[in-house]
Structures are given as C-alpha cells and as structure tokens.
Symmetry: C2
Subunit: 419 residues, 2 copies
C-alpha cells in the first residue's frame, strides 16, 4: 500500500482567529518531505462543528492524514470524536491511557480529564510522555474501500514534537518499504544558519541528508538517511570544521551544560556584565534552584559602574579590552563569595566601537579561586544588537564550561572560524 497523498489537519480556533501563528505545519511537512512524502495540503480549522464535514472531503484524496490539536479535555476538543465518527466506530476507554493518566492526575481523572482516555475503537494508542492526552493511530475506511491511515497528536508544541520525533516519524518511515530512519541530532552554537549549510555541503558523506531548526539560543541540526557510520563520520567532520564546542551531540543548551558541570562540582559563579547587561545573569536563573549555582553579580554598564562597583581601573585601558575583562571577572570574584567570576564587555552597537574593536567585538573574562584568569576576544560582525548580545551570552556559557575544566580558551576560540 502506498501512502503518497498526505494531508495535515491542524485544529485550533486560536490559529484561525490569528491569535497565534502555526508552527506545526512547517515542522511536520518538513519532516515528511524529508522522508519522501508529498503533502497535498495543510488545513487549519477552528474547533467547531465543521471539522467532520471538512475531514470527509479531505479523506477523498488522502492516504494518510496527520492531525494535531483538539485532544484536550474540554467540550470543544473534538478530534477524537470526529475521527471516530468518520471511521464509523464508537469511542472506547483505553485502559493503558486510563492507567497512565491516573498515575499522573489521581482522582482528578474523573470528570473532564476522563475523556482523554477515550480513543476510537480499533485504533492504537500513542503514549504522550509530556502531557495528559495520548495520541492514536488507525484506519478510516472510505466508501470506495480505500483505507486512510489517520494519526492524531496533541497540539501543545512540546507534546507534539516529542510524539512526532519518537513515534510518528519512525512509524511513517517504516511505511516506505522499511527504510532505516536513522537520525542523529546535534546542537550548534554561534554559527549562523547559512554558514552551517555551507559546512554541511562541504562535509557531506554518502547519502546523508540534513536539516536545521532555529531555536532561541542555538540551532538544532540533524543528519538523516545514509548508514549510521556515514552519519557518524559526517558529524565528526562537522565538528572539526565548525570548531570545538560549537557542535555538540544531542539536544542541548550551552547554559544547561554549564549548570550541570557547576552542580556536579558543587561550585557557584558570579557575573560582571557590561554590554549584555544582565542577560547572562537572567539565563543562569531561568531555572528553579539556581541559588545553588549562581551567587549574583554586577551590571557595569556605564564606565563609572565598572570603577565604582568592580574597582576596575580604566586609566590605562579601554572599557572593551582584555585587561578590563580580566579586572571585571577578578573584581566580581573578589566582592562575591563564589568560586568563579565571569565577565562580558563589548560593543553591541549599532553605534560605538573603534577601528581596532568595531561593533560586534566582545571580550570574555574568567577568574576562579586559585586559578589563572583568562580573557578572549570574539568578533560577531554584521549582526544586530540583539543578536550580538545573544551570541555573547551563549559564548560566555561555552567558554566558562571550558575554563572550569581547565582548558586554554585561546586554543579553543582559534578554531571558531564560522561565527
């Protein structure tokens, strides 16, 4: 059986009212295109009584319909009943789904939530490790006897993506005559998407394909197709080219990696920020429990703030210089009771800077109890103020990790040729 004609059915009134922008359509169609499927249409419909009649139209020329949304517990969450009606089967309590949900919410299961344990009779439940509503898959038989595969996922992005990557895509990949759905994920930092594409072209191995997803402070890169050895080889080539620490295995945030190391070593940090003005401190404290790794810091935005709050002497050095970055890191280490001091000073632009240190120059300082201080300078040219500051906090996290591990930061940054 072929599954060449695919429809994506995205359900949510907040989408057709224009309250939020749909992101599922692009993500799912991108992944299915990668697997060689042809998307006939992406349909976005409100949670209302018209879903059933619309679905019956699309079934006519679809072999596979993927649904997102409408699996919540409220009465306007219609996906499961619409699919059941279309398949001409009743909704049925799924015991695994019930047990799973009971474990999660206890007696609150009675009432609205209970509807989330129903799936169309004859359909297979798809577990949802990130939320309360399971997905499901099964067939709707058309009047002409053609069986249309339907797969339903929850709408919240975190839940949908988990189910998509770990259950839906592997299943769909197998439909295409058992092609191995090999997939290797990486997280990439500081390198712009266009450069990453160039490097992937250059490092291509065999039939390995790749794709990127732009996230807030990083890019997710995945390799797919080819053999696992080919993907491994291409990953190694990429790492060599992009530079040590700027491409790591799996789905990782630079700040989380740093925090994990600090927790493991039971150490704390303090910060002295100039151009990033508190952004690094904010990142350190985004997660609960941060007082066990973050002590506090200083935002030394004005030059005078560097002098008054950190005792930095600016008589002989410019505010954006290696000695100033070191003095800032050592200054906060001394005023604080933490194990490491991190500093950032630079020109975020769009105005400012000078000939030697144009806008985009950012200097990172590091000091630690009983350790030699280090500072390195990076240039993030041709970026906006926001993206220079964003790159600066990510770079500081990556460099701090290496500083704490005892590395020479100059050796590390000299490999970073694509930033």
């Amino acid at each position: 059986m072929d599954y060449n004609k695919v429809s994506l059915f995205i359900i949510g009134s907040e989408l057709t009212r224009g309250v939020i922008k749909d992101g599922h359509g692009q993500l799912v169609s991108h992944e299915l295109s990668n697997l060689g499927y042809e998307i006939r249409r992406i349909i976005i419909v409100p949670d209302d009584g018209n879903i059933f009649s619309q679905l019956n139209e699309y079934i006519k020329d679809s072999d596979l319909i993927i649904f997102t949304g409408g699996l919540g517990p409220t009465c306007d969450d219609l996906t499961r009943s619409v699919i059941a009606k279309s398949a001409k089967v009743p909704l049925e309590k799924n015991q695994e789904a019930w047990d799973e949900l009971y474990k999660r919410v206890g007696d609150k299961i009675y009432g609205a939530n209970e509807s989330q344990t129903l799936i169309p009779q004859g359909f297979v439940r798809i577990p949802n490790p990130k939320g309360t509503a399971p997905g499901f898959r099964g067939f709707i038989t058309r009047d002409d006897g053609h069986k249309v595969l339907c797969m339903a996922m929850p709408g919240p992005p975190v839940e949908m993506q988990e189910m998509l990557y770990h259950q839906i895509l592997p299943y769909i990949a197998k439909l295409k005559g058992g092609v191995e759905l090999g997939r290797t994920e990486f997280s990439s930092f500081l390198t712009p998407e266009s450069r990453l594409e160039e490097v992937c072209q250059k490092c291509r191995v065999g039939n390995v394909e790749w794709g990127t997803r732009f996230q807030n402070l990083r890019i997710s890169l995945y390799l797919t197709g080819g053999t696992s050895d080919e993907r491994k080889l291409m990953g190694e080539n990429l790492k060599k080219n992009i530079g040590k620490n700027l491409l790591v295995d799996g789905d990782q945030h630079a700040m989380d990696m740093l925090i994990d190391l600090l927790k493991e070593k039971e150490k704390t940090v303090s910060t002295a920020e100039s151009c990033t003005a508190g952004w690094l401190a904010k990142l350190f404290t985004d997660k609960s429990g941060s007082s066990s790794w973050y002590w506090g810091g200083v935002v030394s935005y004005a030059d005078e703030a560097k002098t008054k709050l950190l005792n930095v002497n600016l008589d002989n050095n410019s505010a954006v210089s290696i000695p100033t970055a070191i003095a800032m890191a050592e200054g906060i280490l001394k005023s604080s009771n933490s194990d490491f001091g991190l500093s950032i000073t630079g020109y975020a632009g769009p105005t400012g800077g000078d000939k030697d240190n144009p806008v985009g120059t950012v200097i990172f300082g590091f000091a630690g109890k009983g350790m030699k201080s280090q500072a390195v300078s990076l240039k993030f040219n041709s970026y906006t103020r926001d993206s220079i500051r964003k790159r600066a906090v990510v770079a500081s996290s990556i460099l701090a990790l290496e500083y704490i591990r005892g590395a020479s930061l100059l050796d590390i940054v000299c490999d970073w040729q694509y930033i």
Copy 2:
C-alpha cells in the same frame, strides 16, 4: 449578501515542503477576525495541478475566498488560471496592468512577465505598488447560483501586506453593510488574557467588539465597530476597571514609556535585582543609546549578595520584605552615580516562599535623590516562574514611571485587582 464563511487559500510549494513557515495565514485571519468574519479554514497547498479540484471543494461552503501566492510569472504560478477555470471565464489581458508593468520592466514584458497582465474576464484588477503581479477580485458563481467573492493577492510578504492593508481590508470592511471601520488600540500590562476578556464583557458598550493580540511583555487590545464615542466610553470603563497605568492608549511598551520619561528629564537609573536577576537591566539596555538613561546595577541573587554588594542588613528583615526592597533601592542609589534606584525582590518559584509571602510575591523598591523611598508588594499567584519574572519587570517599569512623576505607589497598586 452575507460573507460569513471565509476560506484562506495559501499557495506555495515551499510551504507544504516545510522550507519556510507561513505567516500570511495568521496575519490575514487575525485582520478578518477583527472585522467580524469567521474563518472556516486556512488551506496551504503546493503549486501543482491539484489546486483546481481542491478549490472546487472549498467553494461549496465559502462566501469569500482569499488567495495568496501563485501569481508569479512562471508556469507553476497557477492561481489566475485556476480561478478563471473555476469561474468558467477566459483569462484576458488587462490594459492597466499591462501599462503598469511596461512602465516598470519595459520590453522585458514580452515573454513570461506578460502572463502577469492577464486576469480572469470580468474580474477587477487590484494594483500592486510593490511588485509586478497585480491582484484581482471578482465572483465565481457556484452551480447552486451562489456567488463566491474571490480576492487574489501576491505571495511575497511585502507585496501582500501592502495590498491587504490598503485595498483588501478596506474593501472587505465595507461588505459588512458599510460599517465604519473604526478601531481604537490599547496596550494592556500584567492582566492575563482571560481576565481582560472578562473585563471587556463587563464594560461592553453598544456594538463595540474587541480582540487581543498577545505580545511579549504586554497584550494589544483593540476595540472595533460601534461609534467612536462608544469605543471611547468603553476604553474609559476598561481603564477604570483594570487599574490606572495597566491600560494605555495606542501601541506602547511599558519600558519605552519609562525610557521616554527619563530622556525627557535627562535622568539615569540603576537597578538592584534579586528574583528577576538582570532581566530588568537587560530591558533597559535593549535599545542603542541606553547609556544615557541606564547607569548599571547589581544582581543580588544570593542573600549574601544583598549584604555584600548593597549593604543590606538582613538581620531583622527577610530577603523578600518592604524594608529589604527599600534598602536595596537605596543601596544601589548610594553606590551608583544615578538619579533613581529601582529594586525587585521576590519569590519566582516554583519552590520557596512562605505563608505570608507565597511564590508569586514580588516587592518593588524605589529611591531617588532628594525623594522619599517607596516600596510596594504585588502577588502574581498561579503563574510560572518565567511569567512571574516577566510580570515583575513590567510592573517595575510602570511603577518607576509613576515614582519619578511623584505618585504614591500604594494608591496606584490598590486599583490593580485583575493582575
């Protein structure tokens, strides 16, 4: 004639292959919802031979179909021929479109471009000041005699948006029986969307309708329909209910309003942040030129940081208390060379807090040269860590504005019953 059932038809293979994310769907549906139209579906389809049969399905339950894309000069740009075929009319050279295009491209018009001067017979051209492909509007008569209004816009966002705002929306607004397309915009802070909806219900005047758009640190609220007097009255009612300063005219950011005041008075601020840990400082410096209003500050995350960096005495007061917030604001004012000191201390959760000050309690302190210091406490219960911190930085900006103007902050916050 009613135009209650609207379909958006978005054409582009790069969308169904997932290469780019669609933004037109949200924009157009948002604007049409504002005008009181009900969007039945947003359909995203590839530039291929199936558009015609799909269109014929959607026509069955649409009164108005808006198309974007597929108006380019190449052979896979099918929109104009598909609409003509569906309307059972030929494509016809439009002289104005030809003249317009000739002015723009000269003799290059012969060949592929020339196809862009064709529109379905009987349809009206819609000029495209930003590009080569004109839009058009006209009717497709269904087999049951119902006339479906079709409006086609080009796909490139710059061209589409120009046409949408200047030609499509004004035309569509008039279809609703000549209702005045009045619209009054507000920015709302701290109040959650569900509460804002409640207050709008309560303050409704005449036939005024409303809608909200969730932005990063605020909600845009607009009133539409009714007379301008009715919208004005409803706006005043809303302001009284939501509380002074939490609903302001126009499209404004709390931080921008504060920065404008500081620039006008030529004053600078410094910050002492605990739970928001640098987020307020970052916001102050998001824009270039910030050294003229922002001096610097301290992130006093650990209790010890409050003592060491700000000389706050915690022997008799808890870290989250009115005296501590005042001592923090006065501490940074004293260490700095700025005109005002702002402090934030609170429990962002999810753990921490105590019986009197549960998670969500945030205290805001303000000190100024020659001014009496003030502090107020707010409770942002039942929010996530991220949203408590976000609300805290917005509240601090709004309160700082009032403090600088000489207001009594206690009087102000006692009106904030919906936060």
